[in-house]
Each structure stands twice: as structure tokens, then as C-alpha cells.
Amino acid sequence: MNPQKQGWLDRVPLFCYPKGIDMAQNKSDSTFLKRIWQFFTAVKLTVVLLVLLAATSIIGTVIPQNASPAFYFHNYGESLYKLFSVLNVFDMYNSWWFLALLGLLAVNIVVCSIDRLKSTWKIIFPEKIPFKPQRYRKMKNKTVFETNEDLEKVLPAFKEVLGKKFSFVSENPTDHGVGLYAEKGRWTRIGVYVVHSSILLLLIGALIGGIMGISGTMRLDEGEKGSAISLSGQHQHHDIGFSIKCNSFDVSFYDTGMPEEFRSNLSIIKDGKEVLSSDILVNQPLSFEGYNIYQSSYGTSAAENLELKIQNPKSGMVYTKQVKKGESIKLPEGGGTFELTGFDPNYSFRGHAVGEAFTGILRKGGESEGKQIVLPVKFPTFDRMRRGDLVLSVKDYEKTYYTGLQVAKDPGVPYVYIGFILMIAGCFITFFMSHQSVLVEVNHKNNPGCEVSVAGTANRNSQSMNLKIEKLVSKLKESISS
């Protein structure tokens, strides 16, 4: 092959690979692919990816996510703003580079698992469980003791003890006597693959949720119904294919003023028919056609039937009067009339939020224009600033609420949940269970009598294996002493 006659693409190993069907024919190709394979099988890569994921994740907890461009521009200046835009730092957990890190981790997991599973599989499902006494004879935890009993008498007792503690026991003749080999937990070697496949399931679930999932909010006044949700983070609406009606909303408070519970009574209306009606609470959502409907917030949408407190600051006289929205009432002491015009759940007075407030028009005598006044619920002395003959304030009123619903559909959730279960099971198997094996060698020594040596190993947690050997030795001694 003459390299000078090739195009540049042919010199890039990835592109010339399909030319040679047999990889071994083209040495440079196979070593390149091998190198890629080796790159992904390296634990070094796993470590680098985990550290990078940990380090970069910090960014999104320090820089607020998904705020308005103006916010970032104002807080970070133009040059940083541009840099952040390129790297999508404003939504970094969905940025190309963060997703690429997760993707690399997924490839790393898949390649590592394929690479190692072959040899692990042979260990987990051997054709015949091997007997290799040499391995155990050199072990540090080997314990030797002697007994006056004969080998023939000792063996069945030992076999019984081992049979209780291990799932597999074999009896093998050796040069000087008999070797009893026992083991359990061979299958636990699969645990680490369970953990790693659970991570893949989580990523698949998240991907499905990201592509097919929908999440948004809906605001419904009591008695109102709707079928469109405003999508999170976007100025868009989505029709969910059925209507939700808020029949009623209740909020109860503790005596400290903290909300104790908010409860919406909702009906689902599909094709003009009410198909279901239920209460929802913060931790008790409602499910319908793959959508989950959650109680997420509430607020006051309107207020009716105001009970007005009217006070004459000079004489100290106090009157109360009822007034409905749009209604006009006569004020005492010839103070004219008051018309209730509106209610603002979040009134702003000279840039200060003063909360819920009623607005009305005060007319003296035959005036038609009148004067607009504001009665904030929380500030009963507010109307004093008007310096009128009478001071008006809110005594009581009836509220109607709106309920804030979170409506979400995430078809990835089942995958994620299976991933969760596998992750916990896999971690438990990997960390707290192990493939344990022991060799109990019984050799002829003295007459009558024999020498017993016990040693064992585990693929994890060797420390506790040493303790187990100690216990086993005392059990074995016990079994032949009676």
C-alpha cells in the first residue's frame, strides 16, 4: 500500500476501517480501535469523569440557573455573559458538555462491563468448581490445631458444620489426608454489574423524560376549569387533552400562622363528561392519563363581602358596614359614599409590596369624580394618611382562592424507579456480600489423631473473613469435642 496515493481520509483510521473486513489485516486500524476500546475500559477514565462531574456540578449551585438574560448580564458583565452563553452555564445541567460527560460515563460503563463480564461470567458459572489447595496453604489467616480423634470420625462432623454455613462443600483427597472445600456467594460477583446497569437505566429514564416528558403549571380560580398548562421555563402553552376543574380550595393554618394544609377539590372533565373527582394535597397528587396533578401553590384571587370599619379619629366613634364589590354605601356622619371597586392580592405602594388591599372610591356630596382610596388589609392605619374626617379600614372579608397546580407527565419514571431498586440491591450485594471460600485440611498425624488446618478467603472485606475463620475454628472444635 502506498500511503502517498491515499486521500487524507484514508489516513484517519476510523474512516478507513470499513475497507478491510478483517481487522487483523490492517494492523494500524486494529490498534487504533483497540486503543479506543482500551481508553474506555480504563478505570482512570471513570475516575476522571466522576471528578469532573463532581467539580462542574458545583457551578450550577453557585450561579443561579434558568434566570432571565438580563439578570446574568447585569450580574456578570458582558464578557462573562458571552462566555457563559457559549457554555450554556445558565442551564448547565442540560448543556452539551455536561450531557457529553454523562454520555462518556455511560459508554465507559458499557465498555467496562462488556470487557469484564466475560471473565466474571466464567467465574460465576464454572463448569466445575475447582479445588486449588495451594492457594489456601499460604494464607495469613490459616489456623492449625490438632485433635486425638481419627480422620474418619472427624470428617462427617466437619462436613456438617460446613454444610450449615456454606452452600457448596466438596471432599477432595490430598497427599496427606482430605481437603474439605466449601464456598458460598459465587453469584454475588454479579452485584457490581447490577449497580452499573442501574446507572444506565437512570440515564435512559432521564433521557426519555427529557424528550417525551411534559411539565407545566396551571392556575385555577375556585369554580374555574382549564386544559392548558404553561410549560416550565418557556412562554408556551400545552393542551393536555382533558380539563381540570377546581371545585373548591381550602387552606388551614396553625395558630402560629404557618399554613397547615392546602387542599384542592378537583374534577377531571373529558369530552364534556366529569370522569373523576378527588381531593389533592401537597403530598397526594392525582393521576389521570399519564399526567400527575400536584398541589404546588395557592393564592387569593378575589375577595368579596368586605366588612368595613369606619372610625372618627376625633370623637373615637366606630362604625361597621358591609359592602359588596361594585356596590356603593353611605358613610356615617355625612361622610359621603364609598364604592368598593376592586381587590389586589399584591398591591404595591410606592414600590413597596403591601400585600392584599381593597380599592374604592370616596365621594363627598354630589361629586361624580370622587377620590380613589386604598385599604391594605395588613395596615389598618393606612387610610389616616389621607387626613380625612373618617378613617376607613378592613375589618373582615370573604376570600376566594386560586390553586396552583403542577401538571407533569414523565414516561421515563418507571425506568428510573427500576434503576433505583437495582442500584440499592446492587450496592448491597457488592458491599455487604462476598464470594467466600474456605479450605479445611485434615491430615493424618499421630495415631490416633490428626492435624486440622483452616484457611479462607473472600473477594471483599477480608477483615471480617479473618473473624469468620476464628469462629469457624471454634465451631469445628466444638463439633468433635462432644
Binding site: A54, T61, V62, Y254, N283, Y294, A408, F431, S462
Partner: protein
């Protein structure tokens, strides 16, 4: 007797236990560590009683919830879990002096709860978001995870304090064999990792049932994941790259810093959904 008084007294009992353990280590007296153990067990019983009493009190007031709803309660519970885990380790591995760096953590947590200015120790009602059976599962598993990492941190510090050449004089030589401490550190990390995993998962399932999303990159969530990544790194380094001893001790310390930030830092420096504790 009120629960907060009982828990304040517990603070001093834990302080005494730490002093005994440190004394045992400083003067190389086994007797002191035995006394330390007895005092520690006494403190643990009082701590348990304090938590249960607080639970009962909450029902008496009429709020009726498990004492896991604010920073004060979580710190008290943190002390309890670290103490429980440490007692288990001492019982299982029969190592006496290993408590020298772990017991002060138990004391510091509850002392911070009892003595820090601005720490609200009143029993408050539960906000609607926390009213769920997942609260207990989530809090217990997370704190068992934190406890595992805390004890691992204590062991790691111990490992690093011990000089490499074993001179017969000097404080550090009275500690158990480095191999044992190294193994204990690993065991504690593994324990913490399993429970942190379950803690994050119970939190995710709960979030999905309360808010409709199992993961929202809230600072607390993100930091718990960062912590998880760090310990996952530690486990890979140890099991696949053969790291142990000093290097693992340092990674374990870095991991515990992440735990502390997840636990306290997020609440003080960052804002998010997890405003309670």
C-alpha cells in the same frame, strides 16, 4: 423534664466521653477508654430518650410529627446516628481507642444544636411539604449515610496523625495498626455510600410524589450528588486502582467536606427548596 433540657445535658455527657477517649489516647490508658465507652453509652441512652421525648411532646402540643423537621432536630439526630454507628464499630471490631476522633464529632454536632446562637429549638408544626411518610425514611437513611462518612472521617484523621515509622514514644503510636484503621475507614465509607444512595433515592421518590419531578437540580440535591460522586471515586480508586492508606484517607476527608457543605453550607450560602434542614 423537657426534651431540650435532657438534650442539653446529653451534650455535656458526650463532652465527658470525648475527654475520656482523648485521655485514653494521650496517656495510653486502656481504663480511660473503657470509662469513655460507659459514658458514651450513657450519653447515647439520654440522646435516644431526648429524641423520643421530643416526639411525644410534639404530639402533646398537637403537631404530632417525628423530630426531623428543622436544623436543631437534625443535628441532635446526627449525633445520635454517629454515636450509634461508632458504638457498633467498637463492639464489632473490638478496637478501643478508635473513638478519639469520632467521639468529638458526636459532641460537636449536639453542642452546636444546643449552644449555637439563633438555633431554634422550639417544636414547630410541620409545613405541608414535609407531611409525608417519606420524611422518616429519607431523614434516617441520609443521616446514616452522613454518620458513616463522619466516622470514616474520624478514622482518616487518625490514620494521617500516625507517623509512618512506628516510634515507641509519641502519641500516635498508641493507635491501632494502620491496616486496621484503613480497613475501618473503607468499611465506614461503604456503609455511608449505601445509605447516602438510599437517602438520595428516597428523596427523589418523595420529590416525585410531592412535586412531580424526581430531580430538579436543587442545590441540596446537587451537593448530595457531588458527595456521591466523590465517594464513588474513592471506591473506584480503592477497589480498581489499589489505593489505600494515606491517599484514601485524604479522599475520605475531601468527601466529608462535601458532606458538611451538603448539610450546612447549602443552607447558609445557597437557596433552594430544602430550606428546613
Amino acid at each position: 423534664m423537657t426534651s431540650s433540657l435532657l438534650l442539653s445535658v446529653t451534650t455535656f455527657v458526650y463532652a465527658a466521653a470525648s475527654v475520656f477517649y482523648i485521655g485514653a489516647w494521650s496517656f495510653n490508658k486502656k481504663v480511660l477508654s473503657r470509662v469513655g465507652l460507659i459514658v458514651l453509652v450513657a450519653g447515647f441512652i439520654m440522646n435516644t430518650a431526648g429524641i423520643l421525648l421530643r416526639w411525644v411532646e410534639s404530639y402533646k402540643i398537637g403537631y404530632g410529627h417525628a423530630p426531623f423537621s428543622n436544623m436543631y432536630e437534625s443535628l441532635v439526630f446526627f449525633s445520635w446516628t454517629v454515636c450509634l454507628l461508632y458504638l457498633f464499630v467498637e463492639y464489632k471490631y473490638k478496637e478501643k481507642i478508635v473513638g478519639v476522633f469520632a467521639t468529638p464529632l458526636i459532641f460537636l454536632a449536639i453542642a452546636y444544636a444546643s449552644l449555637a446562637p439563633g438555633m431554634e429549638s422550639e417544636i414547630t408544626p410541620l409545613i405541608p411539604a414535609l407531611k409525608s411518610n417519606w420524611l422518616i425514611a429519607h431523614v434516617i437513611t441520609c443521616f446514616l449515610g452522613y454518620a458513616g462518612f463522619a466516622v470514616a472521617f474520624g478514622f482518616s484523621v487518625m490514620y494521617l496523625v500516625r507517623p509512618e515509622t512506628t516510634k515507641q514514644n509519641g502519641l500516635a503510636t498508641k493507635l491501632p495498626y494502620p491496616g486496621v484503621i484503613d480497613e475501618l475507614t473503607y468499611q465506614m465509607v461503604v456503609f455511608g455510600f449505601l445509605f447516602l444512595t438510599i437517602g438520595i433515592i428516597t428523596g427523589a421518590v418523595w420529590a416525585n410524589s410531592a412535586w412531580g419531578t424526581y430531580w430538579s437540580w436543587d442545590p441540596k440535591e446537587t451537593w448530595s450528588l457531588i458527595t456521591w460522586f466523590i465517594y464513588a471515586t474513592l471506591l473506584h480508586l480503592r477497589m480498581m486502582r489499589g489505593w489505600n492508606g494515606k491517599r484514601i484517607a485524604w479522599v475520605s476527608i475531601v468527601g466529608f467536606m462535601a458532606v458538611l457543605f451538603t448539610y450546612f453550607g447549602v443552607n447558609y450560602f445557597l437557596s433552594g427548596l430544602h430550606s428546613y434542614a
